[in-house]
């Protein structure tokens, strides 16, 4: 198939969609995972639910769009990515289902058993995707045992290799810190202090994992090759590190928004680091480099890519605009008066 500029544009968009998805839904996952550890009573729990309230659904659409974009721009990658990772992907989907209904259903009955069930769904439904997305992406970075037809040789458990697990842990930790930071913005009093503490202490583990991950990436993958070939790309891991390092500084000064934005930058750039390292591959084959799925051998036709580029360039900025507007409209803390209303989760 011939090469064209649209394949590169779509590769970048592909990376951006996933990166934005992890950055946004990441804090929802973090809040969900923190629920059992940081909430002391039902009011705390409801603050956590409502901290994600107006956002989680809109955040999740970035996943649907990332999936849809993969389908539209790189159909073969879409086909292989999701059939090779059949079981983990379905686990993620079931987890997301449980998480979504937990938000909607929990406040609809008063019984503690009822609430307990949905709390459990929220926790599992946040932890599993965080872990499995990390495992999946680390395995993409490392390469999947796919043959020339894109058929996976190796079972689901083989994904739980050391580097894959490291990726999973890293994602979990990034999202926990990200969620705790969001909670410092959204809450008050004791809950806020606990959130700050959690962010500070988990940040240490996060930082450690980041360093191990960057080093391990050198051993387990060839992602770094691109960065040494095109030195300017090093700005990406540099920004990621800058984001991570800035978090405790801002926290110490009580600049909670800035701390959260640093964490957002770090997650964005960590994803971008992996994606840039893959270029021009989408899923490398660990069996034979020639069997890797690349933007050249798995893309849609130039016409489809052109149309999709037009759609994306017009509508994605509009989406970003109105989503920013909602973040601004609902930027207030979750107040006790709000929890009294019928609408509150």
């Amino acid at each position: 198939m011939e090469q064209n500029i649209f394949q590169i544009i779509w590769f970048i968009l592909w990376g951006v969609l996933w990166a934005v998805y992890f950055t946004l839904d990441g804090f929802d996952f973090g809040l969900g995972m923190l629920l059992p550890f940081i909430a002391k009573n039902d009011v705390d729990r409801r603050v956590i639910y409502n901290a994600a309230g107006p956002f989680w659904d809109g955040n999740e659409v970035w996943l649907i769009t990332a999936g849809g974009a993969t389908f539209a721009a790189f159909p073969k990658t879409y086909a292989v990515m999701f059939s090779a990772l059949y079981t983990p992907l379905l686990l993620i989907l079931f987890a997301l289902i449980l998480r979504g209904v937990a938000f909607e259903f929990r406040a609809k009955e008063e019984s503690p058993v009822w609430k307990g069930i949905w709390d459990l769904c929220l926790v599992v439904g946040s932890f599993l995707p965080a872990l499995l997305f990390g495992v999946a992406f680390a395995n993409f970075f490392q390469g999947l045992p796919i043959d020339w037809q894109g058929i996976m040789h190796g079972n689901t458990l083989s994904l739980l290799n050391p580097y894959g697990l490291l990726g999973g842990l890293l994602f979990v930790m990034m999202f926990i810190v990200h969620g705790a930071l969001w909670l410092t913005i959204k809450s008050n009093g004791a809950l806020k202090r606990r959130a700050k503490k959690v962010a500070e202490s988990f940040w240490v583990i996060e930082m450690l994992l980041v360093i191990i991950f960057l080093v391990a990436t050198g051993f387990f993958t060839d992602l770094w090759v691109n960065f040494f070939r095109y030195k300017w790309l090093l700005i990406i891991p540099a920004l990621a590190l800058l984001g991570f390092v800035a978090i405790p500084g801002f926290l110490a000064y009580g600049s909670y928004w800035k701390a959260w934005f640093s964490s957002a930058l770090a997650i964005l750039m960590t994803t971008a680091f992996g994606v840039a390292g893959l270029f021009p591959r989408l899923i490398p084959s660990s069996l034979n480099p020639d069997w890797s799925l690349t933007i050249y051998n798995s893309s849609s036709s130039p016409l489809t890519l052109k149309i999709m580029t037009a759609v994306a360039l017009i509508f994605v900025p509009i989406v970003i605009l109105y989503q920013c507007w909602t973040y601004k409209t609902f930027s207030e803390k979750v107040k006790p008066e709000f929890l009294e209303t019928e609408e509150a989760y």
């Binding site: 309230g53 107006p54 659904d57 809109g58 999740e60 659409v61 996943l63 649907i64 769009t65 999936g67 849809g68 974009a69 389908f71 539209a72 721009a73 159909p75 073969k76 879409y78 086909a79 292989v80 990515m81 999701f82 059939s83 059949y86 079981t87 992907l89 379905l90 989907l93 079931f94 997301l96 289902i97 449980l98 979504g100 209904v101 938000f103 909607e104 259903f105 609809k108 037809q149 894109g150 058929i151 849609s300 036709s301 016409l303 489809t304 149309i307 999709m308 759609v311 994306a312 509508f315 994605v316 989406v319 109105y322 989503q323 909602t326 409209t329 609902f330 209303t341 019928e342 609408e343």
Partner: protein, 446 residues
């Protein structure tokens, strides 16, 4: 022996039929809620505000399951139908991606704005947000049905590089089959939402609860349902002639017509006998009616199933009965909606109507599911009509994987479905909140 194809088909059927239990109410009730809220903004009548809140609450309970079950559908093409995805992703994938970009973002973002924005937005802006949700969900229906329409009647493509590649985008987005499906599906959804509002209102009216409130809801829904129940019969008929043109095997199965006939009659009563390739019973013929309906000419030739080898025919009985029942329900809804319309100003004086209407609520759900059976089962053995067989489309995965996930789908969906309908029942019976506890949009409150 259960193979991957069968298991994947079952899983897709479970996932999509279940998803479609929630979609139509979203499509219709979003607009009705928007209408109620607009009436409130225009008239200041607080009952309409309570109506927006009451129906909106039911909308949200329903919406939650619609969203989460929709995500699995988006990914099923990759997990279970990877060969299909590779073969047609160039066209089909782009329609899905456009749906997400244009519609899902708008819908999911503004439903949250509406849900959480009662005290933060002006009444007009708040009403606008539910309109955006309504528009977005209907736009999403359009794109997904254009995608399904392409599977039913592929256009604007060529076979190149071993796959279907797009050659004419305009043809794909103006595909008459897709537009037919869109009109038919959304009006079906509006009927469903209409009877939902009518049924719940009738239940309360019969018990003399909140009579003024529910009379207002009843009246709006009565007009609404009449319009779409009548339109549905009409566009369903047009849809049928589109099927006759594009998918003659499906038409033959819908009517259980085995032999090719010139001036084909329509039998009011038919019992197909698939095994012997005939009908056990054919009674009450209307001469030339099938030809007339399908081709707008009573003398036209309609092809029978025997024109095609057995392996190219869809399952006849399932397609036939689903179609018959849907059409029967369609006429029932038209008749009921006339009765409802006639009594729209004084429903409390029609005790029988009030008694019947709550029981009608499940019927449009049934009609919608049956419609999908016709459309999807009737298209078999093709996944893309005339272009790709379903058996060639599945992923190279192990049957056990699909077997386990299928069981998981059935289990999780059954439980969640039960919870969801329980909550809908609970809040529907509870009725609207009393006037004083209401938080009105900010400027009215101030």
């Amino acid at each position: 022996m259960l193979d991957v194809v069968l298991l994947s088909r079952l899983q897709f059927a479970v996932a999509s039929l279940f998803h479609f239990l929630f979609v139509p109410l979203t499509l219709g009730l979003s607009i009705l809620t928007a209408i109620f809220e607009t009436l409130y903004v225009k008239t200041g009548d607080e009952d309409y505000l309570r109506a927006a809140k009451f129906w909106g609450k039911l909308f949200l309970i329903n919406f939650a399951l619609g969203v989460v079950t929709g995500i699995t559908l988006e990914f099923q093409f990759g997990t279970n139908w990877s060969k299909y995805s590779m073969y047609v992703g160039d066209i089909f994938g782009s329609l899905l991606a456009i749906e997400a970009t244009l519609a899902f973002f708008l819908e999911s973002t503004f439903i949250a704005v509406w849900h959480f924005g009662w005290n933060r937005l002006s009444p007009k802006l708040h009403a606008l947000s539910i309109w955006l949700v309504a528009i977005a969900s209907n736009i999403s229906a359009l794109w997904i049905l254009l995608a399904n329409g392409w599977m039913q009647h592929p256009v604007g493509y060529t076979i190149r590089n071993g796959r279907a590649e797009l050659t004419n985008f305009l043809e794909v987005v103006t595909n008459p089959f897709g537009w037919m499906e869109f009109m038919h599906t959304v009006s079906g959804a509006y009927i469903l939402a209409g009877f939902f509002v009518l049924g719940i209102s009738a239940w309360h009216l019969r018990r003399k609860r909140e009579v003024t409130f529910f009379k207002k809801c009843f009246k709006v829904a009565a007009v609404w349902t009449l319009v779409f129940a009548l339109f549905e019969v009409f566009n369903g008929h047009l849809h049928g002639s589109e099927v006759a043109k594009a998918q003659p095997t499906k038409l033959a199965a819908m009517e259980s017509l085995w032999e090719t006939k010139q001036g084909a009659p329509m039998y009011l009563l038919v019992i197909p006998d698939e095994e012997h390739e005939r009908n056990k019973l054919e009674l009450f013929p209307i001469p030339g009616m099938l030809s007339l309906l399908a081709y707008h000419d009573p003398g036209a030739t309609v092809k029978g199933l025997k024109e095609w080898p057995e392996e190219e025919r869809p399952p006849v009985a399932l397609t036939f009965w689903s179609f018959r029942l849907m059409v029967g329900l369609g006429f029932l809804f038209a008749a009921l909606s006339l009765w409802v319309f006639w009594k729209r100003n004084n429903p409390e004086e029609a005790p029988w109507l009030l008694r019947i209407l709550p029981w009608v609520i499940p019927l449009p759900y049934l009609a919608c599911e049956l419609g999908w059976m016709v459309a999807e089962v009737g298209r078999q053995p093709w996944i893309v009509y005339g272009l790709m067989k379903t058996s060639k489309a599945v992923s190279p995965i192990a049957p056990a994987q699909v077997g386990i996930s299928l069981l998981a789908f059935i289990l999780v969906y059954t439980l969640l479905g039960l919870v969801d309908f329980y909550l809908l029942f609970k809040f529907a019976r509870k009725g609207p909140s009393a006037k004083k506890t209401l938080a009105a949009p900010s400027s009215i409150n101030a």
